[in-house]
């Protein structure tokens, strides 16, 4: 087994995931807030805006990641320059972002809807504007839930990184696939799988642990 390959693959997976998650949240977080606030129970219900945003999110969530890679090649070309991205980890960033921002938005929407309505109403009764309610109340109160949602999103993005092989993007999962498929490195395949499992464990359990740690709802009560 070639350790060099293994660590390169790990490095590629980690980078892909970090960059894609960051960009997916830059889009998904505000989108999730908008989805929640324009919904029936939100601060500013607006059926039309909500339907449009919901449709966009649903479209990108329903197109499989594999197809997104192909469909989005022009966008990747636009971002990184034609042809120059092939064989690099960042070749997957554009499809990963498009495959996951909708999911992120839905997770954020879900977290915000868990905040009790009374707290929002109290803020409103204190003269808070919608903007202030979002930043000073909703996002603060939804904090722990947003963190655990973040862990779930990262894990699902790691899952999507498996498609990187199709455009020579590399990564752990593709490495495992190659070694396993050609039967040359059965041990290497298992080591890759182990690495993926460990990374996922760390993110999922770590996320939950932090979420519980910062949640002040029952720490002392």
């Amino acid at each position: 087994m070639n350790w060099q390959y293994l660590f390169t693959a790990l490095y590629e997976t980690v980078l892909m995931t970090i960059v894609s998650t960051t960009v997916a949240y830059l889009i998904g977080l505000p989108l999730g807030v908008l989805l929640h606030e324009t919904s029936k129970k939100g601060l500013r219900p607006n059926k039309i805006v909500n339907a449009i945003l919901g449709t966009i999110v649903n479209i990108f969530r329903s197109v499989p990641c594999l197809l997104l890679i192909i469909v989005l090649i022009p966008v990747t070309n636009l971002v990184f320059g034609k042809g120059s991205w092939s064989g690099n980890w960042y070749s997957m960033v554009v499809p990963l972002v498009f495959a996951s921002f909708g999911f992120v938005a839905r997770m954020v929407e879900q977290s915000l809807s868990e905040v009790p309505y009374g707290v929002i109403e109290a803020a409103r009764s204190l003269g808070a504007s919608n903007f202030q309610i979002i930043f000073r109340v909703l996002l603060v109160e939804a904090g722990p839930s947003l963190i655990s949602g973040f862990a779930v999103c990262v894990v699902s993005i790691i899952g999507y990184t498996s498609f990187a092989g199709y455009i020579a993007g590399g990564g752990l999962i593709y490495q495992a696939f190659t070694w396993g498929y050609y039967g040359t490195e059965k041990v290497g395949m298992w080591v890759c799988i182990l690495f993926v499992v460990i990374v996922v464990q760390i993110i999922q359990e770590g996320g939950l642990w932090i979420s519980k740690k910062v949640d002040k709802r029952r720490n002392l009560g």
Binding site: A123, L126, G127, K216, R217, N219, G221
Partner: protein
């Protein structure tokens, strides 16, 4: 009597909720005047629109029609910005406290300062002001606790401190003691009364229990069937309730007004008497009376409250009893019980 200044005036207020195709009328043609320094109780059974009324006052609910006049302006015409400024003068506390669970007590009380636009205080000034308010409600030592570590009564005190931060003229209390045990509820009510006296804060209290109203309010309105059926000074409404709903709230089901239809005599004690009236009545008039209902309190040796006795059988005895009571300064009224 000194002249009272009206601080809030509600005129012909209508509010309904649309549920699919049916329209559910909650308030119809409601009128109410609240004066500066009042502790105004609004009481009614569940589902009569008490909460809707108080939520219309600070526009958490938009009334369909009518006027809410505050400082000579109809608040229903306010722009969004004006509404937010108005809400800083008309604060509110809730049944479920509605504190931010992820913020400390201190940060909860600091929230209104952070919401203020223009000439903002710095962090230290906010902290000091919030600590002062927490001291006012007796919770200075709990400043760094999270709400989950506090009892219900403490949470409501924090909510009161938070509501006071914007320096309001009116405080709305929506069933603010309903989730608390009687002793804690009373301590909250006493705190509200203190604030009313010390700060001149006008308070509007929504409740479904007469005991809450009785303890702190100087005026009361009874809400029934989507409108106010009786309103006025607490003592007037309390001594002389006219409607069935008022009676059932005041006698709190101790008399079942629907079942029997007997004649009784209501004796009202307003502190004029310190004699054992009933014993004297039995001795002097030589009649036996049956007490149907009694709710009296002794304060500084004088008796306050009311009692309902069954009328004697013979007309001449009835007259004797009435004369005796009137001569002893007890106001009486024949009632059907």
């Amino acid at each position: 009597m000194e002249k009272e200044t009206v601080i809030l005036k509600i005129e012909n207020l209508y509010k309904s909720f649309k549920q699919k195709k049916t329209v559910n009328e909650v308030l119809t043609d409601l009128n109410l005047e609240v004066c500066e320094g009042d502790i105004y109780g609004i009481i009614g059974l569940s589902g009569e629109g008490k909460s809707t009324l108080v939520r219309c006052i600070n526009l958490l609910e938009r009334p369909d029609n009518g006027k809410i006049i505050y400082q000579n302006k109809n608040v229903i015409d306010f722009s969004n910005k004006e509404v937010r400024d108005y809400r800083k003068e008309v604060s509110m506390i809730f049944q479920d406290f509605n504190l931010m669970n992820q913020s400390t007590v201190l940060k909860n009380v600091m929230l209104p300062y952070k919401l203020a636009n223009g000439n903002r205080m710095n962090q230290n000034e906010m902290k000091e002001a919030a600590l002062k308010l927490l001291d006012r409600v007796g919770l200075k030592d709990k400043a760094n606790y999270y709400p989950s570590a506090l009892s219900g009564g403490m949470k409501q005190r924090v909510a009161i401190a938070r509501a006071l931060a914007s320096n309001p003229k009116i405080l709305l209390c929506d069933e603010c003691t309903s989730a608390l045990d009687p002793t804690t509820a009373n301590s909250i009510l006493d705190l509200l009364q203190e604030l009313n006296k010390d700060l001149g804060l006008t308070i509007i209290i929504i409740a479904h229990q007469m005991s809450v109203i009785e303890r702190v309010c100087n005026k009361v309105a009874i809400l029934s069937g989507h409108e106010i059926v009786e309103k006025g000074k607490l003592s007037d409404v309390f001594i002389n309730p006219k409607t069935a709903i008022a009676k059932s709230l005041i006698y709190s089901d101790k008399i079942n007004t629907k079942m029997s239809d007997e004649k009784g005599l209501r004796l009202t004690f307003d502190g004029n008497s310190d004699e054992p009236i009933l014993a004297l009545l039995i001795e002097r008039c030589n009649v036996l009376v049956n007490i149907m209902y009694a709710d009296t309190k002794v304060s500084e040796g004088k008796v306050y409250g009311q009692m309902i006795i069954k009328l004697p059988y013979y007309e001449e005895d009835v007259q004797k009893v009435k004369d005796f009571l009137i001569n002893h300064g007890v106001s009486i009224e024949e009632v059907t019980i």
